[in-house]
């Protein structure tokens, strides 16, 4: 009996010591925020920390006993590796950035906290649904969106005017797109080689997205031989055939020799305002438009979203949640995205507010056809990028194969695609 009492006593002492230490360390709560430096959208960003520093200052004012530590200095390329290294050391930041390419992996490996129990605190409908969906895994919310970027079609207005072609409408289709491309593709200097082209940078993934293709389903099965996919690849073949084996490069677009170029909204934001515009595209006027709709699809944009999540191993989940809300759910922080970043705020009323419109208009001098009212429309109609686990790896494999069949103008697209699917699936 004595022995039992002794053991019990020892247990009690150890536990009370642990509780005491825990209590002491929780007097002032410190949470950490992990982020990468630079822009998520691979465009130049002068001061990437400003927006987060402001958010932290506001948050610390609201919660005087909380200190938010910003962990900075990691580049975007090193970020995922860095977070996973931290996870092996159980030293993950409480709140951290979740790039959409890594979201599935983060959620699947149990790095992210399931936010479902917190979600009833907020009104989900204030977010753009396509942005919110970027943080969902198996019907559960694991991350909240911070900023989104839709992909839009950029049009060389000057070139279309020269060729006497009307500026396309937002509801245009593949056939409209192809007709214009066919019209503008020509040899202008008469040297026997084509030097004016329809489109640069339009790839099979964009075509597939515009035609409502699902590349991989939830169970990890590829669907490369669907009717939609065959149509997309056939369309790509037609487009590429126009160029008569000449590779169009980005310089051609910069020099004003290409009519269309799909671009992320962030690039538009980064390059359109002064002084970037002067540096990059000085000799023509350009504007943005929704992507052309495929036979089975709509004019939907692909929306890429940078989300924020909470570590499942965080010891201050409640405070981390409050900070997450400050970043994603507070209008103050979302408002700053317009001025300090290149994305689109994920809160509908912030993105469609008059201030936002004014700020965006100020950014783009000269006459612009791009209606910023459209931005709201694009965000509402857009669909999140279909970013499955190991996305980059699988897409690059498919990419190489499809490049081959598009260039070779092979006749039987369905058979080729079925072959590719089997080849990749067996890997």
């Amino acid at each position: 009996m004595k022995q039992i009492t002794k053991i019990g006593l020892a247990f009690a002492i150890v536990i009370s010591a642990l509780i005491f230490v825990n209590y002491q360390s929780h007097k002032t709560i410190t949470i950490t925020f992990g982020m990468f430096a630079g822009s998520n959208w691979d465009v130049p960003n002068g001061n990437c920390y400003q927006i987060y520093e402001n958010a932290i200052a506001r948050f610390e004012k609201k919660y005087p006993n909380v200190k938010v530590e910003l962990i900075s200095g990691i580049t975007k390329d090193d970020y995922v590796e860095w977070i996973l290294e931290k996870s092996l050391q159980q030293d993950i930041p409480d709140v951290f950035m979740v790039p959409s390419e890594s979201f599935d992996m983060f959620a699947q490996t149990g790095l992210l906290l399931n936010l479902e129990s917190y979600m009833n605190e907020i009104n989900e409908n204030v977010f753009y649904q396509s942005s919110l969906k970027a943080g969902q895994y198996k019907d559960c919310q694991y991350a909240l969106p911070f900023e989104s970027v839709p992909t839009l079609m950029y049009v060389n207005k000057t070139l279309l005017e020269q060729e006497n072609i009307d500026f396309p409408v937002n509801t245009w289709t593949w056939s409209d797109f192809y007709t214009i491309c066919e019209q503008v593709t020509k040899d202008t200097d008469g040297d026997g080689y084509l030097d004016q082209f329809g489109v640069y940078g339009y790839d099979w993934l964009l075509a597939a997205h515009s035609n409502n293709c699902e590349i991989m389903d939830e169970n990890g099965n590829l669907h490369l031989n669907s009717t939609e996919m065959v149509e997309s690849i056939d369309f790509m073949k037609k487009l590429v055939a126009l160029n008569q084996n000449i590779e169009v490069n980005s310089q051609d677009f910069d020099e004003g020799k290409v009519a269309f170029c799909p671009m992320k909204f962030s690039e538009y934001r980064a390059y359109k305002p002064y002084p970037w515009r002067v540096k990059k595209y000085s000799n023509f006027e350009w504007d943005a438009l929704m992507l052309p709709a495929g036979t089975h699809g709509d004019n939907t944009s692909q929306i890429n979203t940078l989300s924020m999540g909470i570590s499942r191993f965080s010891s201050n989940k409640e405070i981390a949640w409050e900070f997450l809300k400050e970043l994603t759910y507070s209008e103050e922080c979302q408002n700053e995205i317009i001025t300090l970043s290149q994305g689109v705020p994920v809160l509908q009323n912030v993105a469609s507010s008059k201030e936002t419109m004014d700020l965006l208009s100020d950014d783009s001098p000269g006459d612009s056809n791009f209606q910023f009212i459209m931005l709201d429309e694009v965000m509402k109609q857009g669909t999140p990028m279909d970013l499955f686990t190991q996305y980059d790896e699988i897409i690059s494999q498919i990419d190489a194969e499809i490049y081959r069949i598009v260039i070779n103008h092979s006749d039987n697209t369905l058979m080729e695609l079925t072959d590719i699917q089997q080849k990749i699936q067996t890997k």
Partner: protein, 439 residues
Amino acid sequence: MNTKKMNYKHFIFVLFLVLVCINFIHIEFIGMVIYATTNKIIATQQASEFIQTIGAIPYFSYTQTIVLVNIFFFLFVALMFIEKRNTTTPIQSRILTSLSFVCCALIVYFLQLSSNSIVLLFIVFILYQHRDNKDLYIFLGLAILLYMISNSNILPIIHPIPLSEYILWYSSKGKLVLNFIDSALNTLNMILFILEIFSIMVFELDENKRIKALNEELQNLNKQLEEYAILQEKMGETKERNRLAREIHDTLGHTLTGLSVGIDAAIVIMDIDKEATKKQLSILSQTARQGLTDVRRSVEKLRPDALERFTLKEALERLILDFETVSNVNIKFVYHIDTVSFQQDMDEVIYRIVQEGLTNAIRHGKAKNIFVSFAYEDNKSKLVIIIEDDGIGCQHIEEGFGLHHMKERIEILQGRLQVYGYDGFIIIAEIPLRTGDIT
């Protein structure tokens, strides 16, 4: 036999110690591999590749794993050794085993299911420690469940990371060495586990045999004791008879001898001296009365104690109270007659019948409730006593010593005894009343 037993016990204990050591080495080895591999992975920036291969974030960092596993391993071993000293009560022992099971489960969890050999150590421990109580099955069930769960990924909440996932990150030579150490430790653990279980089984069989032998010896002794008790009883009876004979001889014999001699003298002197004869006869009459008193006193001495001091009803109530207090039985006593005492011999027979009946009901019938009732029948010409119980009864009534005695006593009083054993046990005694019985 005793030294053999000690040897077995010693052997089992030493094997157990070796098992503990091997498990300790194994978990230290696993800790080291996790530590070294994680550092290597971080240094070579392969964290994302590593996590994508294993498919989950490890729940604990390597430092946490090593510290937690070691703490709980020592706690686990300490708990087992405390319990092994056999100074604990069954409840304490149950608590200690439960705690060590929790430690064992936690170690498996902290290692994120990369090894479960510690469960075998726990199984060995409970097989030995709880080998002769029912707790064994509960703990064995729990341990087997834990072993099964840790061997497969049934539980969706725990993502197992086998040690092989860590070993994968070494060169082919490193893989070879680490795999060899791991499987060697596993195999050694398994072999010793089987050997230990085998030893426990042999020890158990041996002990069973020994217990059986002891049991037989005990039964023999018991039989001897029983025989001796019967002998003792017989001897007591003889003694009592002798005492009775002596008493009769001393009192009645003496008086009767005196009387016969006195009467003889009276016959002789009757014709000579009438007066002297009268005197002589009155002396004889006095002697006879004196003798009667002596006989009464002797008989009195043979009566049950309670009857000497109390009326029959009171004596029976006391008897019942006594039974109720000494054995956990509920006796209902109904006395439907207005007579509190009968003649002495009758009282005694009734008292003995009730005493014997209650004893039988409790001793043989294992009764919980007994009903005793007294009533007159046929216009107060008969006394009926019913003793009824709810015990196990008896399908074939063997007339033992007690029942036989009861019958004998009643027959002396021209009564009748009926017994039934179908549903509980019922004794019905009918005793005809003599004039003067009812006082």
